[in-house]
């Protein structure tokens, strides 16, 4: 049925490959592992080579996405909103599980309240990542004057640095925290947790606007496969869901912040 929806020749455009860019919420190996079922499924359905790529950090990922290097960008809500506005990407769907940012500290460590972080080092994934932006907003809201945030490319690296005492706290997502290695996670604890936010959003580049329905249908079809169910369960994503109206617009503040930061990066 899926094959009838997407004949092989449909996407035989200028490129012979289809690039799915995933924001570097984890290390590249974890991302490749997580999205391997989707890559294999889409290759079969699209009849062309499908490549999963990521970037060294959120800034570079955002710039690559804005440069339209990805046919589908799977990224955080605020970057999705930025891509929608600045690069005319179209939102396809998101995960059912809510996205939450957390502030992690060492279990049994010296940090018990936000004020304990005064003049301490804190870690973020990248300047433009939603967890970092949310964490910095959280520090500001609690009048904490921490040292300038240090950025790490992946949350598992971030956890190791925290355990090693390189920093007092770290900003990451609740999902990444839950995906940490069983030997690592017990050594950490959540100091603060954000309210639910939209999770990673699948954004389709406007080059494929004419095929949006079919690609979206393919993603929904993938969600029904055994591989997808295993993938959702393993990563506590619960499945796909459609975006609610105005859901991305709620993140305009972070999108604006990101745009400004990216200008400095460029």
């Amino acid at each position: 049925m899926i094959l009838t929806l997407f004949p092989i020749a449909v996407f035989a455009g200028e490129r012979s490959n289809f690039v799915i860019g995933v924001a570097p919420h984890s290390s590249p190996r974890i991302i490749l592992q997580m999205y391997a079922p989707l890559q294999q499924y889409m290759e079969k359905v699209l009849g062309m080579s499908v490549e999963i790529v990521t970037a060294p950090n959120f800034d570079i990922f955002a710039n690559c996405a804005l440069a339209k290097e990805y046919d589908i960008a799977v990224t955080t809500g605020h970057q999705a909103r930025l891509l929608q506005i600045d690069a005319h990407y179209s939102p396809l769907l998101t995960y059912k599980a809510d996205f939450k940012s957390v502030v992690l500290v060492l279990r049994g460590g010296a940090i018990h309240t936000p004020q304990d972080l005064h003049h301490k080092d804190v870690l973020g994934l990248s300047p433009t990542s939603l967890v970092t932006l949310w964490g910095q907003q959280w520090l500001k809201k609690n009048n904490v004057r921490a040292n300038p945030t240090k950025y790490v490319s992946a949350s598992d690296s971030l956890a190791q640095l925290l355990i090693a005492g390189e920093a007092a706290a770290a900003f990451t997502s609740l999902a990444n925290y839950q995906n940490l290695d069983a030997t690592v996670r017990p050594q950490l604890q959540i100091l603060e947790e954000s309210g639910p936010m939209v999770g990673r959003v699948y954004m389709l580049q406007d080059r494929w606007a004419g095929e949006q329905k079919k690609i979206k249908a393919a993603l929904w079809a993938f969600a029904d496969t055994r591989e997808a169910q295993e993938y959702f369960a393993a990563n506590k994503l619960e499945g796909y869901r459609a975006l609610r109206p105005g859901e991305l617009e709620e993140l305009d503040v972070y999108a604006e912040e990101t745009r400004n930061l990216l200008k400095n990066v460029r």
Binding site: S27, P28, R29, A36, P56, I60, E69
Partner: protein, 507 residues
């Protein structure tokens, strides 16, 4: 004694053999060392490739997934700091070369070195490795790198040069040592050889060789024992030989004497044979004269009557010319008949030169005719029964003479038995391819104790007999005509049978 060339001496050959074996073993040793080194090198390089590949892939997987070319470049630069890697080239999943590497752009990437060849790699001392970079079944690119083998090949060359040098030195040293040892071991060999030649030439006594406790000394002792034993044996052999020569001389003299005796005996036998033949001829001639006499008896009487009639006719004055002419003609006829008789006998006794077919009956009748008058004079009757006419193959006159012999013997038997009516039956028949003539008489037969001797030469029961007749008859029939002659007795007398092959059988 000529001096032997080094190659022909025992120690020379042993030395050559030892050097050849040593060279062979050293070559084997060096070759094996190189082979082991090569295998170790191959294992080491392959292990090195297997160690480097995952490290590079691990370092490159993330930046490839991130398209982080700066990191990829850093990985390449840091990996090429040491000399162990000759080059690293990264291809993306579409086969495009990423970044600037040290491998020439105009040169195609070498394939992976699958077989670690000992000699080809000497020209290109790089072990090429090609391995895909993928993660979770997702191809990310391809890694090409070359492991620099220059140091390893230098080590191999050093091993080869040093190994050959050591082998050459070892061969030279061992050659000198073996040469010295060889001369020391065979120091008494020349003396032994000279003494052996003296023994071979029989120049006894031999001066004893110096003996010792080593192998050559023991060999000399054994040689001394052997040369003494040979000297004793030679002496015994010489004595035996002298004795043998004496015996041989005696034997030769005896042999000469025997030869002389044989020659004498043979000459005597030949003389006897000549005498026998002569006697046989004389007997035959006597027989012939006797028979002629019988043949002439009647014409001579008639001729005497003619002459008497002429005498009375002359006295009576009746001798006319016609009467004279008639009686002269009668006398001439008688004389002519007597002359014819002599010719017949002469022809009868002339031997045939070649074998030929002839009528057995005709020859029988000729023989009967020769003796007819004699038999009639002695009142002996001859009966001939021809049961079957036979054409025989042989000498007809000799055949008739044999029959004549048998008839004469039968006549003698009849006369000897004082029979008033002597009877001789001649039967001619054919049996088993032979013409068989049987002559039977009624003379009382041959005594049993001499029956098997009647054909022996010089055997005769008659007072004036020569003992040759039957012997010659047997010789003529059996040796010259391949027939057979037999004698047996019947109730009335003897019975002799002559069997000669029929002409159609003989042909």
């Amino acid at each position: 004694m000529n001096r032997l060339s080094p190659w022909k001496t025992v120690h020379g050959r042993l030395l050559c053999l030892a050097i050849v074996l040593e060279a062979f073993m050293l070559t084997l040793l060096i070759t094996n060392s190189l082979r082991l080194l090569h295998n170790a090198m191959a294992d080491q390089v392959q292990e090195q490739a297997e160690e480097i590949s995952p490290v590079l892939i691990a370092a490159l997987t993330a930046p490839l997934a991130q398209r982080d070319y700066a990191t990829i470049q850093a990985v390449l630069d840091e990996s090429l700091v040491t000399d162990s890697l000759e080059y690293i080239v990264i291809l993306d999943r579409y086969g495009n070369r990423l970044l600037a590497d040290e491998f020439p752009k105009n040169r195609s990437l070498p394939p992976a070195s699958r077989n670690f060849s000992f000699f080809t790699l000497a020209k290109d001392p790089v072990y090429h490795v090609v391995t895909p970079i993928e993660y979770q079944h997702q191809p990310l690119g391809e890694l090409h790198f070359g492991i620099n083998l220059t140091r390893i090949f230098h080590a191999r060359r050093t091993l080869l040069v040093q190994g050959i040098s050591i082998a050459v030195i070892e061969i030279l040293l061992s050659s000198f040592a073996l040469l010295f040892f060889g001369f020391w071991v065979v120091r008494n060999m020349q003396t032994l050889t000279r003494a052996s030649l003296e023994v071979a030439a029989g120049n006894f006594p031999i001066q004893p060789l110096p003996e010792g406790d080593d192998d050559v000394g023991k060999l000399s002792a054994a040689f001394n024992i052997m040369s003494r034993a040979i000297q004793d044996r030679v002496k015994e052999l010489t004595q035996t030989n002298d004795l043998l020569e004496q015996k041989q001389l005696q034997l030769e003299q005896l042999n000469q004497s025997l030869q002389e005796r044989v020659r004498t005996t043979v000459a005597e036998l030949r003389s006897k044979d000549q005498l026998l033949i002569s006697q046989g001829r004389q007997a035959a001639m006597g027989e012939m004269i006797g028979n002629i006499a019988h043949q002439w008896r009647q014409p001579l009487n008639t001729l005497a009557l003619v002459l008497t009639n002429l005498h009375y006719a002359h006295e009576a004055g009746e001798l006319t010319d016609e009467y004279m002419a008639e009686y002269i003609a009668t006398g001439n006829r008688l004389i002519q008949k007597m002359s014819s008789t002599i010719n017949d006998f002469s022809e009868f006794f002339r031997p045939n030169k070649v074998k030929m077919p002839f009528s057995a009956e005709r020859q029988i009748r000729l023989a009967i005719e020769m003796v007819a008058e004699s038999f009639a004079y002695n009142h002996i009757e001859i009966n001939l029964a021809v049961e079957q006419e036979c054409i025989l193959f042989g000498f007809p006159n000799e055949y008739s003479q044999v029959l004549l012999n048998l008839l004469n013997n039968a006549k003698e038997a009849a006369i000897g038995a004082a029979r008033e009516n002597g009877q001789i039956h001649i039967t001619l028949t054919a049996r088993q391819g032979m013409g068989v003539v049987t002559v039977e008489d009624n003379g009382g037969g041959i005594p049993k104790d001499i029956l098997d001797k009647v054909f022996d030469p010089y055997f005769s029961t008659k007072p004036m007999g020569t003992g040759i007749g039957l012997y010659m008859s047997k010789t003529i029939i059996e040796s010259n005509m391949q027939g057979r002659i037999e004698a047996r007795n019947n109730p009335a007398g003897s019975e002799l049978s002559v069997m000669v092959p029929l002409a159609k059988e003989a042909s």
